[in-house]
Symmetry: C2
Subunit: 198 residues, 2 copies
Amino acid sequence: MFTVSTEKAAYHHGNLRDALVRTALSLLEESGVEALTLRAAARGAGVSAMAPYRHFADKADLLAAVAEQGYADLRDRLARADTAADPRQALVEQGVAYVLFALERPALFRIMFGASLGSGLPPKPPPTAGSAYGILAARVAGLVPEEKREAAVVAAWSLVHGLACLTVDGRLTPQADAASPETLARQVTGLFAAGLPA
Amino acid sequence: MFTVSTEKAAYHHGNLRDALVRTALSLLEESGVEALTLRAAARGAGVSAMAPYRHFADKADLLAAVAEQGYADLRDRLARADTAADPRQALVEQGVAYVLFALERPALFRIMFGASLGSGLPPKPPPTAGSAYGILAARVAGLVPEEKREAAVVAAWSLVHGLACLTVDGRLTPQADAASPETLARQVTGLFAAGLPA
DNA sequence: CAGGGATGTTTACAGTGTCAACTGAGAAGG
DNA sequence: CCTTCTCAGTTGACACTGTAAACATCCCTG
């Protein structure tokens, strides 16, 4: 057993919580969701199987922390894509960024949304998730009159989210999937943006 | 332990495969996804833990069979909703039906799409899934000129699928969720249908 | 220099998916 | 009719998971 060497390696590990989240994240992205086990995360952090319970109530709680990291990354990504002067264009770019994020980090994306691993109850939307939502909502708000705004925001969000899910899970017809996902995302969101009521 | 009584109860169970799928489905819908375990399905069918392996390669294979049942139900539901004379209206009704299906049977919906429990690889889209897709695609095809048709079909599919996912997982903002899901679905898909290029 | 609270460790348990080897029943062939 | 073969189901075992309870150890505060 040796830790990452640049770390403190004190034997009250220092910052286990962060180490666990980092380990969990790389487990998830390098080996898929079924490799992300509480024990594996503990092992990766060089610590006993029960240690994580000092920092997380249970496995779902660790996953929530991982997801939160994902939300922050997604929000950054959307913000970085939101640069075009034309608001319609900016909206399209956000949509493309959303889909690409899902495609590049599919396992993380599936943890962020969906199922919350356990009870079927709503998994308590974390604050960071809302801020990603806000970036998209702001663009839509600038394009749609007050009374249709809410439906339009939900529609935009649904559209990119649905496209991301279907693409990630390989659910699109081969012909649709043949073109690069980016092209497809651009066409789809473009079509949507064009149809928005002025 | 007693079987469903109307069944044969012969000692080479008769039709274990179907019994397992049925048991799995009710486990799933009555007690959530974490209750759907291979052993529990076997128990429910009155059979030993290893018996399912004579009919399914592994757990994922059972889940695939359950999902297939779900696809068939969804297709029926879409077909039944597709009755309006106005094609735009029919499209909206299909979207609403899709969202309601997801909301009424959330666990099944999550099994049908998403993750395929195991490798992150695409889970081999079953034939029945395509036929549900076809019902929606047909309506869109009647509304959109040839060259934009493909993008429009993907967009419609994405929109309702995304809305279904977000609703099921309780990801919508409270205000959006306050109205009945059906109303929301109607507004959102209506807005989309209205924006479609003539 | 106490001692107390946070942080980790050990041990244990119920449950899971799945492998290997065994058994029983119904059909096939002499 | 009796043997035999093969499919369908069983038993037992294994490695692994998440988690509870009790114990150990470090560091900080008084």
